[in-house]
Subunit: 343 residues, 3 copies
């Protein structure tokens, strides 16, 4: 058998290191496509001059291009037989990525726990994205539920990693040279700075995007994510193609420009849940809540901790969870992240 | 309220200067996408060698990439609450734009006139697109009908700008170095030169393109145009997404290659009307009429003034207006422009 | 008449050389789009570092980008009035193409044969793709059935070219510097090397892609292929847009990564048939058969001759032809090519 049928739960052991295949050199082409696929407008990722004015050598590639590229490489090894993508933690963007850089991904298995039904289990991996110099540009923990291939395989010893609920803001990686002292709020698109956001404040991002099959497939392919369920309409009984959760993250983040135009760079991902599946035809909207704030050592640079919630169609305002803690059926995504914003 | 609800009629005053947000560095990615989204084939915008042979340093980005990029930036400030996009005038392409250049836009309000119903008014703006050196690459006047936000706001003094009906061809900006002395008609695709076009001549461009939702949305997003009506299927009662008028301009201009392959560069936009809305599923066709001709000071370079008309589906041949001057219901676009063509 | 109505059978004469229009400078934009449109993952076309490790100066553009670009230019001159695309032979990739290169195409008519019905005929052309240095990067023979424009035109003397059934593997062009001595199988995605493939072996590539209208149109436009039937839904009585055969080639080749991840570069196209038409909504799958193997003079580089078959929807396993030699109705493509693979 020459084709990859993916790994099953019993194929993972704690400490195992998986070097994912197919490194990728990124260019202005990926940036242009990202901006065609998502209504992304954060100025630091749009203009070399704006980025240079913030102390960077050029405009980096959008942080979510980096996330999707690193994530996509892990799919054939981690989630081809995944039943569910359960969560993210300890995501940290460590270095900006520029056109011309080449990314590859490596994951280490840091936890396993067989489910009581004996048919599947949860696998925790810490994934690192590296550039052509071997520098880590991004790392994050992700856990997925994976089917067992051989139901008779013995249950491994349960190892559940200790994960921070929130990335400590004092440990956020500051891109080399970053400063917001000469920040041009006019060119950025809004006047609201660090001081204008209050913890607990909620922002309805107002705009909506109706999702098309070809867009989510083009996006997902661009990250070389190969999960069948996104591309093959014969794969599900209902003939629907499930949309890659990262597509919803990118739509929601781009929509959040309207109200958070100065939350320029994603610094860390504290956690995230794909609460409900998204399908073509859904109209995606987004709202944010300010969860925390912290100053940084970089001149003029603050950090805001944001909850970014993507909802579909006619969700009630600021829809999230019901009293029992279950996500509202119209909630697609609940993402918790730190972003850099001018003081 | 942190989100942008757009400006209303009473927010505009003559003389006001609006610096639009989100500068944009363009690359070969935008060019490739433009050529994937439109059947664009003018050789000067396709090949560095062809452009160099015409005296330019490299192949510029398509002139309509420049137009859409500059226009897109104005949408959040000018047309978010627009009821209608009424017209264009005095559009002039002043400098070619190359991969690596960064564009931003600035508009000055040059006219206002409240409608007699007291609920809306017309706003005229002159928009300039600037590159990273502060050079103006494009300017044009556009007027839109905008809703009043506060119906009690007093009507401003009416100012209607004096606008040229046609850009004087002796004032067309000639790109530095442009000459058509060594022009290769074989590589350009057609033999017809300046002398072969007669004033009054009409050309049916023959080909048609059936428009898809994801294509017009990707195009419109690429220009960072944020008007809801293009992206959100829940925005109109009929569930349709209105197609950005510029998408139709680009389709029609690209189709006009067949018959006008040597009308290489758009030099000026004299005027334009989006006569009827375009929706996904429409098949767009185009025809042109030669309105005028003029030689230029550049070696071998002539200018033709063209009417470019986009029509849909089964429009009658050379459909335009009825006897009362009303546009035929199948006409989508009526654009009047100057193009450079070899003598 | 200024528009191109294409050539008819009687317009072709053996020995005629046609220089096709609209040269094209390719960039990282075309590469990014290729990877958004197809699930392409061969590492040598994805990563500069991987390609440099194989002795190349950088990652070339995917060989099928080159094929489509060269092919697209021939459409207005060769196949605008084609009734059918009958076959390919003697396709040879002679030099890698890199971002920044400019391609143009030239064809020579090498055979003509009027059909017995007197209404059409077969035309054979040998097409060459050239870069900006005038070097041939690709050549291939293609034959098409073309309508007569004037049924009274006399039948030309029949000339049927002698074509090799297979490109002799000892004549495959080895890209300058290519060697697979330090080849990283882990980064390439699979362990299977030259020695692991047996002649006669069949591989089911497992994955499927459901095709969308906007994807095939964007791809086909990107190659500046202008055949109406791909873009204009009013062109056929059934309202369907016929998908460019090259789109199916690229889908199938990309799917073949799963099982043939190390068949990195296409060296030659021995032959090919578009067995049945493909339409949006079809789910395309692929399988391959190893037809032959040959070592090469390049260090560590072998060549495998592969049959690549694209099928749709619920085709039976390894579907190809029935006993009478007729293609199964679910077969879309039958392509015979040589690829370079590490020993």
């Amino acid at each position: 058998m020459k084709t990859n049928s993916g790994r099953f739960f019993e194929d993972y052991t704690v400490g195992q290191v998986i070097e994912h295949a197919v490194p990728r050199t990124l260019s202005g082409g990926e940036r242009a496509l990202y901006h065609a696929l998502y209504p992304a407008r954060h100025a630091l990722y749009s203009s070399d001059e704006f980025a240079e004015n913030c102390g960077l050598v050029a405009s980096p590639l959008d942080d979510l291009i980096v996330f999707h590229t690193v994530f996509g490489k892990t799919v054939p090894d981690i989630s081809l037989n995944a039943v569910a993508n359960l969560g993210y933690a300890e995501g940290r963007f460590l270095k900006p990525v520029f056109a011309g850089d080449t990314l590859r991904s490596v994951s280490e298995v840091i936890g396993v726990k067989q489910n009581s039904n004996g048919k599947s289990g949860v696998v925790w991996v810490r994934t690192k994205g590296l550039n052509q110099h071997g520098e880590i540009v991004l790392e994050y923990v992700r856990w997925v539920m994976v089917r067992k291939g051989n139901l008779d395989a013995p249950a491994p010893e349960t190892v559940i990693p200790q994960l921070s609920e929130v990335v400590d803001p004092s440990t956020l990686a500051l891109p080399e040279g970053l400063e917001f002292l000469r920040y041009d709020f006019g060119l950025a698109g809004e006047e609201h700075r660090y001081a204008n956001y209050k913890i607990g404040e909620k922002i309805d991002h107002v705009d909506g995007v109706t999702v098309e099959e070809s867009e989510h497939m083009m996006a997902t392919r661009l990250w070389q994510n190969t999960a069948k369920v996104h591309f093959d309409a014969t794969n599900r009984a209902d003939g629907k193609r499930l949309i890659y959760g990262g597509h919803v993250i990118s739509i929601a983040r781009a929509l959040s420009f309207n109200g958070l135009a100065n939350a320029q760079m994603i610094a860390a991902i504290n956690g995230g849940s794909h609460a409900n599946p998204c399908f073509a035809g859904n109209t995606v909207r987004a709202w944010s809540e300010v969860l925390d704030k912290s100053e940084t050592r970089a001149p003029g640079v603050g950090a805001v901790r944001l909850r970014l919630v993507a909802v579909k169609d006619g969700a009630p305002e600021f829809a999230l969870k019901d009293d029992s803690g279950k996500y509202h059926e119209d909630v697609l995504l609940d993402l918790d992240y730190w972003a850099f914003i001018p003081l």
